[in-house]
Symmetry: C2
């Protein structure tokens, strides 16, 4: 383990020169922001928060998170418009982004900068949104992480390497703050992994003593880490069971056979032909939907794509098609794909009705007289062989996805994109260059550290 760590560190720890440069830029940026802010209200001020401030950023990351603090009497709209003005003065190409609340993103001297408005609070009690908690997180970590910064960097890079880093919706993995807390809790990168290698869903952690049973009743996620600055909150709330399990297994594998490929896996390269061959060997039916990506951030888009995928899968299954799996991908276009056991179904469908001599009998009998069979009795219930509505899965999707999509449960931005232009394709036609890796990852998943060095 130690040997691998020695190899990894130079790639993720900034040199003294790089660190000095960042501090230089930080000073400059804060000064500029403060200056622009005080024009609006002398009480406004800014601070660098996040990993750059805590000394836990990765060498190749050039991100600066600047929070602008407002007195509590400001409304969200006022804060938003002031921060937008500041950004337009200080940043290159400022863009408005939306998370829980709007913030501004742009560049400053080669760094990616986020300007986030929040309230200046003495105590955590008064917080109005998640961003107001960040300064408290920052203070908590900064005052304790000294000497462990590189351990945090190792954990972050390990998680990034195994595709588990980031609490955003696309990943549903580990946030930077969670990495910091894990290192503080266990003392080192290696100790975090040694612990993780033993985890099963339902782990409860905290900086002090925790009442496991009580916390497990309050939180249902696979990992619960009680926030030391706010014990009502689970820092790992965004972590999916999938990423939790991948981290646990990766930890075991790494400790058993440490290697650089956990930190820096080679990219997975698959050709269209390879994926087509996978498909052919499976004998299944691949159905794909493609539509232009709506202009919203991944944090909004991915949950909507997944919801649409679940909904359409359910439609296919209710119609009798068996869906083996599938996935979503967002690029220039959005891609939903489904692997089915069959493309078509036979006409005959057994439709079960009410019990014989029940109050619904008459209605059932009058409704089903001209089908594939007359109504008959099957073990005490009425039944009838009816003609199936949808014999072809592709046709079913096409038909379902016409008309008003919102009322059918398709989320708003997905519906927008689909209404703009929707393609329903099958087989090799689904193998769009952009979605190729996602499809390969679904058809034949491979842990990043097991990929072949190209």
């Amino acid at each position: 383990v130690q040997q691998v760590i020695e190899q990894v560190l130079p790639r993720i720890v900034p040199t003294p020169e790089e660190e000095a440069e960042l501090r230089e830029v930080e000073k400059d940026l804060i000064a500029r922001v403060d200056e622009a802010a005080r024009v609006h209200d002398r009480r406004l001020y800014s601070r660098l928060l996040g990993s750059a401030s805590r000394g836990t950023w990765l060498r190749y990351e050039k991100d600066l998170d600047v929070f602008i603090f407002f007195p509590e009497e400001y409304s969200k709209q006022e804060m938003e418009s002031i921060v937008a003005q500041i950004a337009s003065e200080v940043l290159v190409e400022p863009q408005k982004r939306y998370a829980e609340h709007p913030y501004l993103r742009g560049r400053f001297m080669g760094y990616e900068v986020e300007l986030v408005p929040c309230y200046a609070l003495r105590e955590l009690k008064g917080i109005k949104s998640a961003v107001d908690r960040t300064p408290f997180h920052n203070d908590y970590v900064r005052s304790r992480v000294g000497g462990l910064e590189n351990e945090v960097r190792l954990l972050k890079q390990f998680l990034r390497g195994i595709s588990c880093y980031g609490a955003e919706a696309r990943v549903e993995g580990f946030s930077g703050y969670l990495c910091e807390l894990l290192v503080l809790r266990f003392g080192s990168f290696e100790q975090v992994l040694r612990s993780a290698a033993t985890w099963k869903p339902g782990v409860v952690l905290g900086m002090g003593e925790v009442d496991e049973k009580r916390e497990r009743r309050r939180f249902s996620s696979p990992l619960v880490f009680i926030d030391p600055v706010d014990e009502r909150r689970n820092v790992a709330a965004a972590l999916s069971l999938q990423k939790f399990s991948e981290f646990v297994y990766a930890s075991k594998c790494f400790l058993r056979a440490p290697s650089m490929s956990f930190f820096f896996p080679p990219p997975r390269r698959v050709s269209r032909q390879e994926v087509a061959a996978m498909l052919a060997a499976r004998g299944t039916v691949l159905l794909g939907l493609r539509f232009p990506a709506p202009g919203v951030v991944d944090d909004i888009l991915y949950p909507q794509l997944r919801k649409a995928h679940r909904l359409l899968r359910r439609q296919l299954e209710v119609a009798g098609f068996r869906v083996l799996g599938g996935g979503v991908h967002a690029g220039r276009r959005c891609h939903l794909f489904f692997e089915l056991l069959e493309a078509t179904l036979p006409e005959a469908h057994l439709h079960l009705g009410p019990p014989v001599n029940s109050s619904h009998e008459e209605r059932f009998l009058s409704m089903h007289s001209s089908e594939l069979s007359k109504p008959f009795i099957l073990n005490g219930r009425w039944a009838v062989f009816v003609r199936r509505r949808h014999l072809r899965a592709e046709e079913l999707l096409r038909q379902f996805l016409t008309g008003e999509l919102r009322s059918k449960g398709i989320p708003v931005h997905v519906a927008e994109g689909m209404q703009q232009s929707l393609e329903v394709v099958s087989g090799e036609e689904c193998l769009d260059e952009e979605a190729l890796e996602s499809i390969a990852e679904y058809l034949s998943p491979l842990f990043p550290w097991e990929r072949e060095q190209g």
Copy 2:
């Protein structure tokens, strides 16, 4: 109702001449049997029991059930051998048959005769098998049925017409004794139907007061009729939910629109072409098994055929094939048939394994390395895409039905027949002349009274 009854009665009530003839034959037969019996033991004697004795037989039935009474010290083997000797002296073409116990069947002056050994008992308490109960049933009905014989005949004929008459395994319907009790309980054929039209599964009846709740706990069949000669017994125990429901619905239909076709439905005539057309319209896959009928009575054969059918259906379903339904038929050969949604399945099958980090993890990972995919994590569990064992349903049945069949759960007489010679066929090949009506009845069931007059 009355008008239809008037038309039905002449066809089911014997003329005075016919009745006189039967009594003549009865006297003769009993005398001959008694004579032959007393050679063995002077204490033996015989009685005519059953519907001929109770005056409730149907005009066209020429059945005589003669019970031979033995003192209790006789063993079953002794009784069996003595009855066999008596039969060989008295009957034409005597044949041994097996129900719960062996009995003899043969002809006598144009009548079908059954010679059944039983014990001469004063009280029901001492009974050793179901046949010992028959004399008590006989006494109970004979002493009460006077004047209602034709009502019983109407009910029997009605049940026969709607295919619900007979407690034997092939039918799972209403026994003659149950018909008699129902008429005694409700007073007339029509009153039985008026009651039946309101039944739902769980009806509890008896000749006197019954504790419904208590009886429903003791018996699970759709109709419970407490035997007036033995209150521990449910006379309707053999009645299936299917036949119960059919009778209930037929009763409603008859009372709403009385017609002769309930009593004397035309036969259902279907041609091979018609059934083939039904199949084609359904788009499904019909699979059939055929093998020589083993030489056992229907009461033994039908339950075994049904059990084999359930077992094979289960095999198909476990392998991923969806079975819409099917049926069995016993004729010169035995026929099992299955209607499937698909004849073939694709290679890829998702095989779910143990949870990540569970004790079975290592074993799963080592077992599944060279499949369609490597093992991967799916929501906290291990999973792998494997190659399906059976891609063709027909092949699966063929493969399953080779080698030792008993150990696979195929009942003994079915296994015998299959081992002699087994055909596995599909599509129109299943449409054997002998099984044609059963298959048509499955594909497009029709209530007998709704059949078209040919």
